[in-house]
């Protein structure tokens, strides 16, 4: 399916203003299956393998669109990256792009924080509890987890772990 020259030209002109959802033409709430379908659709329209009749001066535009499409897909198909991206968009709707490497590092950091705590003390007592558990000292682990929760009362992972320890007792 050849994409009309006008369409490529128009899209290239506004590309830098479009967020990833607009690039892929999907709803912000779209599930991954829809994101994938949208990527395939965009692939048919903009993959550089197509369009052999395209005017040479439009090649760079087409390639630029294709690259942005894969970038959008790389972020939106990955739930962790997508979460970070959504936060970014909420904070500043103008920031429509996000470096992939930073996005995954940030997603890693966030998931580590969720797991291990986001405050220094929360993390410290969580680590101590882990060490207790490794030694098999459940009583100490429980004490340290309770302490960790005083710093981060809403940490779901801490709570779950503590509930597990109590259940076993």
């Amino acid at each position: 399916m050849a994409t009309a020259t006008a369409e490529i030209r128009a899209l290239a002109a506004i590309l830098d203003e479009l967020d990833y959802y607009r690039v892929l033409e999907v709803d912000v709430r779209a599930p991954v299956s829809e994101i994938r379908a949208a990527y395939h659709r965009a692939g048919r329209r903009f993959h550089p393998d197509g369009h052999r009749d395209l005017a040479p001066d439009l090649r760079p535009d087409l390639t630029r669109i294709a690259k942005r499409v894969t970038e959008a897909y790389s972020v939106l198909r990955d739930p962790r990256r997508r979460r970070v991206y959504d936060q970014q968009l909420t904070a500043n709707a103008e920031r429509v792009r996000m470096p992939l490497a930073d996005a995954s590092a940030e997603a890693d950091r966030q998931s580590r924080e969720r797991r291990e705590g986001r405050t220094p003390n929360g993390r410290r007592y969580f680590m101590l509890a882990q060490a207790d558990l490794a030694r098999g000292d459940r009583v100490a682990a429980e004490r340290n987890l309770r302490t960790a929760l005083t710093f981060e009362p809403d940490n779901a992972n801490f709570k779950e772990l503590l509930a597990g320890l109590r259940g076993k007792r």
Binding site: Y39, H40, P48, D49, K67, L100, D102, E106, R123
Partner: protein
């Protein structure tokens, strides 16, 4: 009529196909073989032969017969892969300029892409012969796991062969395309491609016209030839124990051993056991001829290569994990490559994937067929197919401390582009050196260096005041481009990251000229059987090397095996002295990259390095207070000398913090490595 062909340029075998009028045809060579051995024989008289006929020359004329050149494509001379090849190849591998690899035949040194170009040209001629008209355009396949250096070398080979390379296509993707084309399927499949020298696994989602690669992993040094090697080891060890003669030391014996091992291995695809007999393989000290005989059973073979087969599944685990899938999520597994004909491999694959592999595609031809389908689509003779592929390896940039920071992760779809902003590390710094790597290690030297370039001419300013945008691009062929730009002055440096040891544009041009066929290659289509036979005879005569080898050819044509043996012995004896000396003269392999050129300064980048190393051996747990104090370090302090380390002498740029507020993550100062001498420029 413009027709574009698809070429599967394999380590062991190559295959060419064309798609036209809705059909895909494999084009057989003049011996009616659908596949052609990727072997080049350089006769002493100057005649060059490619294919099975060249392969048989390996036994007679080992040092003028180049096999498995693909294993050397895009490799540095000091690499492990080249060392391994040197150990098992009977032709001479020498060092060329800039740590490149050259194959030396007689007194002529060939660049590796030049050897591959000869194979490609042969495939081009096979196609021209069958089609009856010239062919200029082709899609060439490469192992999915090939890095940028290997891909560029393949492109160069295509050009030297006189082909316009429309596209480099990943072999498993091509196989999936041939499998799914025109079937209107919607499936998730794994393509398990075990070839002569490489292993690839790709997981794809295939639809009616879109083929999306979900992940790909591989091993560019694992294949059927490694199986042969195990058999050779066994035979050589037993022979040594029995006769106290090391067959591996005798090039002629070794080549015959290789041929016998491969034949036996292939026989095990059909039979329970294979008998290996090599009469007169060497003579003992007293001149008595010695014979080798061994019966290889399937179970003995399985014990020899079991670990190699298991190694492929480690790679499969990785690919599935990268795609976030388990074997249960797949609808099928497609087998590609000669060794998948072995029941041992077939059964292991069936067990791993918990299903019978698809058998409706020919494992030797499916890759070329896929390439042909895509070639036809690209020139508009077939319905468009959309291949959405990924990059197999993470793209990295060298930073201070001998580290390499990820810019684009492996299995990211291509084409893709990423821009990172860096800044200078020193006052009035004149230039920065940018090194680009591919691989999965945080340590720069454990990755493949793709190339480096220097960026200079930006504004004269204090450290941290220059913004340098580095843009990394991977195109649909998996080839990497890197450009640097200083937005303020508009100063730009742009380079296609070119393998430091690769061929320069001028070298490629002169090779194109050198290999230009003198007469136009148009040949009438082969049809009459008589013509076929005639050409076989012609070729055999033309390529038989003069001198001693003629005797061999004559003996062979007379069908007298014992005479052939005698001639071989005579030839071996005559050349033995010379050969031995020749072997010794082979330059000793380098232990590694020359320090001055590749070794990275070990400057510790405290702020970035320790934070970004999840689970690393020396990971330091930093708490909020640590983070805050790190964040409080001014750029000057960081630049002046990382805590507990010498001043960063070779460090020239650091990662700009422009993105920090976005994440609130302090400490992302990563520095690009640069040479100290850059500062003096």
């Amino acid at each position: 009529m413009a027709s574009a062909i698809g070429i599967d340029l394999g380590t062991s075998n190559s295959c060419v196909a064309i798609a036209r009028r809705g059909r895909v045809e494999v084009l057989a060579n003049r011996w009616d073989e659908p596949i052609t051995a990727s072997v080049v024989h350089f006769a002493a008289g100057g005649e060059v032969a490619v294919g099975n006929q060249a392969k048989t020359q390996a036994i007679h004329d080992p040092d003028r017969t180049v096999t498995a050149a693909k294993r050397l494509m895009g490799r540095y001379f000091f690499s492990e892969e080249v060392k391994k090849a040197k150990a098992i190849c009977s032709y001479k591998i020498v060092e060329g300029p800039n740590h490149s690899v050259r194959v030396k035949v007689g007194d002529q040194a060939y660049a590796v892409p030049e050897i591959s170009a000869l194979v490609l040209r042969e495939m081009k001629e096979v196609a021209e012969q069958r089609l009856g008209h010239p062919v200029t355009q082709a899609v060439i396949t490469v192992p999915a796991y090939f890095n940028d250096n290997q891909r560029q070398a393949t492109r160069d080979a295509g050009r030297i062969a006189g082909l316009e390379v429309l596209r480099l296509l990943n072999e498993p993707t091509a196989a999936a395309l041939a499998y799914g084309f025109g079937k209107g399927l919607t499936q998730r499949v794994a393509v398990y491609d075990l070839g002569g020298g490489t292993f690839d696994i790709s997981i794809l989602e295939i639809g009616s016209d879109v083929f999306e690669v979900l992940s790909t992993c591989g091993d560019t040094y694992l294949g059927g030839e490694d199986f042969d090697d195990r058999v050779i080891d066994l035979l050589a060890e037993r022979f040594q124990a029995q006769h106290k003669v090391n067959l591996r030391k005798d090039r002629f014996a070794l080549e015959r051993l290789k041929a016998a091992a491969e034949t036996a291995k292939k026989a095990l695809s059909m039979d329970e056991a294979a008998t290996i007999r090599i009469e007169n393989v060497v003579q003992d000290a007293a001149g008595t001829p010695l014979h080798l005989e061994h019966t290889l059973s399937r179970s003995e073979f399985a014990a020899l290569v079991g670990d190699l087969v298991q190694r492929t599944f480690k790679v499969c685990d990785e690919a599935l994990q990268q795609a976030n899938l388990t074997v249960r999520d797949l609808d099928g597994v497609i087998l590609v490559g000669g060794p998948t004909r072995l029941p041992l491999v077939h059964d292991a694959v069936a067990q791993y994937f918990q299903r019978e592999p698809k058998t409706d595609v020919d494992p030797d031809q499916v890759v070329a067929m896929g390439a042909a389908i895509h070639a036809a689509a690209l020139v508009g003779e077939e319905q468009e197919t959309h291949l959405l592929d990924v990059t197999p390896l993470s793209l990295r940039i060298g930073v201070a401390g001998g580290l390499a920071e990820t810019i684009i992760e492996r299995n990211t779809p291509v084409p893709i582009e990423q821009t990172s902003v860096f800044t200078t590390f020193k006052d009035f710094q004149q230039s920065v050196r940018i090194r680009v790597y591919q691989g999965e290690s945080r340590r720069a030297d454990e990755n493949e260096l793709l190339g480096e370039f220097e960026f200079s001419g930006f504004k004269n300013a204090r450290r941290g005041e220059v913004r340098i945008e580095v843009t990394f691009e991977i195109d649909t062929d998996g080839i990497v481009n890197v450009t640097a730009r200083e937005p303020e002055t508009g100063q730009a440096a742009s380079t296609r990251i070119h393998l430091s040891s690769g061929l320069s544009e001028d070298e490629i041009k002169s090779l194109i000229d050198r290999h230009q066929p003198s007469a136009p290659p148009v040949v009438p289509p082969l049809s009459a059987a008589a013509a076929l036979v005639e050409s076989v005879v012609e070729r055999a005569e033309a390529s038989a090397p003069p001198t001693a080898t003629n005797e061999v050819a004559d003996a062979a044509s007379a069908g007298d095996a014992s005479e052939e043996e005698a001639a071989l012995q005579a030839m071996a004896a005559a050349e033995a002295e010379f050969d031995a000396a020749d072997f010794e003269r082979d330059p000793a392999p380098l232990d590694g990259p020359a320090d001055a050129e590749f070794d990275l300064d070990l400057t510790t980048d405290v702020s970035g390095g320790s934070l970004d190393t999840p689970g690393g051996a020396g990971e330091i747990e930093l708490d909020e207070a640590d983070l805050d104090s790190l964040a409080a370090l001014s750029a000057d302090e960081v630049a002046g000398g990382p805590v507990g380390d010498e001043p960063a002498e070779g460090t020239t740029m650091r990662r700009s913090r422009s993105d920090d507020e976005m994440f609130g993550a302090p400490g992302s100062d990563l520095s690009i490595f640069g040479d100290a001498e850059d500062d003096e420029i």
